[in-house]
Amino acid sequence: MEAGSINESVHGALWTIRELYTYPNEYMYWTVHIVVYPFLTGLVAGAFVLSSMYHVFGKEQLKPVAKFSLVFSLALLIMAPVPLLFHLTQPFRSINIMLTPHFYSAIAAFTLVYLTYMAIVMSEIWFVFRPFIVKNALEKTGLMGLIYKVMTLGSYDVSETALHTDEKIIKVLAAVGIPAAAFLHGYVGFIFGSVKTVPLWKTPLMPFIFLMSAIISGVAICIITYTVGMSLTRKFICGASIRSMAKVLSMFLIIAFMLEGIDIVFHAYTAEEFWGILSELLFQRFAFKMIVIQWVCGMILPMILLFIPNVSILRAFISACLVIIGVFMMRWDVVIGGQSMSRSFAGFLNYKLPILPTSIEAFREGLFAVIILLVAPFVLLFIFNKVLPVFTEVFTEEECKLSEGK
């Protein structure tokens, strides 16, 4: 009598397994794309902050990664909203939030926040690469020459004074970009923090927790990509730069760790109605993901590795990898873990990521879509790199030694 097939069309039934008592309409509605989305925007924010450290605070050791982190954050930024489109059940209507934005909703501000940030990143890239673009526009012919000519936007002035002005503008943009990056990501945290029905999300610390984990993930991905990029092109990897990034990483790691710790301690101490189910989540169901991967491997271990003096390139690289895994796990734990507690506080929803794309829904919400989304920023970076080479200003051995003291 039960037609099984109709339930496949119920959004959520494909990947949700219920346990004990959950409300009949309860499924995992925010799924893996809502894990990927904050992960990507987090990387954007982190990478941008790193490049700003060079442009605003003049951290000389960061010079080799300054351009790279900027362009990479653009690549990430372009991809960041795509998981949302995968997530919507009516993606072609996404324009509606611009037509009739309802500003009480945190998501409605998305367009505004996103476009502002996009404008800042794009213009900063333009100013940073302007001398390079102009040079190529004058020298190159053919298609590439045309691309560069368009990219000059008609401005060929590379005189001393003009470049000096550029420098100033870059500084301002990089400085304005820091709060904008913080806002972009803090706002993502707010989307979660404002959902009052999920005990794990409902904390005013959410924007800050998200921001800190964003910065550590962004810095970590820069360490990884720089090291890998240099090794692949057989260029010299500057230990001073790595150490400088590692230092930034370790500092933000401490803050991130403290914020996340306070949050849990607070929940445990006030022990509100939902603490029973929350503690079961923390210490049993998600114990491995949260305690082992997110905290021990993703935070405590890298902290120890980075705090032992004389950080080597390998040690920084390993810590960065651990941090990335930890941050991804954190997004997972927050999104999936948060929703896996039934709103009835009397049951659980288990999430099973669809692997095989047996239907459109299974593909859209499944593993392959996720892999595509996670790889896409690197593909974009690869393409951007053809036009705007990001690793041209890497240090030679001497320069690296010189920068160490600064």
Partner: protein, 259 residues
Amino acid sequence: MKLTRRELLKMGLISICGAVIPVSAFEVFKPEALASLIHPFSKKKRWAFVVDTTKCVGCGMCVKACKLENDVPFYADIQRTWVERYVQRKGGEVIIDSPRGARYGFTANDPQGRTDVPEDDISKGFFVPKLCNHCEKPSCVQVCPAGATYKTEDGVVLVDRKWCIGCGYCITNCPYFARFFHPVYNTADKCTFCYHRITKGRKTACVEACAFGVRKIGLLNDPDSEVFNIVKTERVAVLKPEYGNEPHVFYIGLDHIVR
């Protein structure tokens, strides 16, 4: 008198500020705003619902009627209204279930499919029908980025199927989980208090289907309304008041084990 553009702008700005500030101050201090802290009955036309759980037998006719009336695929496991069964054993253990939203009713002593709960071990058991609470402060409406879900003048919360982008924010932010994605339209969906019927003077499908008089729909502040008289004179409770949504489905005979 001749005005330059600059002066005109300045005066315009001053007069706008001058108008806005007193008006907004008024908004904060108006007595209704303060009085609303203790929730008096709204003077406006306002739909509300009463569920007398003491009379419910768990037959599930209301769930069935709702599905058929409102074009929600019958066999799909999502429902605009559902009935929950609460069983408390003598040892204190609480077992809750609502198999298929109870659209086939409860016909056996098998809470959560368990057969190890003998009848003489049950200290209390009862049914609780649920539906969207048409909250006065609906947290679902608050978070909809597209403005696709909204509250009508008479207090009913609706979804515009043509405008919903399917982000699921509203579903996530409803403390009662009254919402779901409609399997055919792929947009957020939920109970409408049968708005198409009540605005034409009829009762909701579930109210009409209930043979035991468990469910009642009516207007608050209407002296002839049974709902209003119950809410005014009897001890009623609402579900999860701690979320601050001010739900407008009032329950008779609620218990502390009800989630």
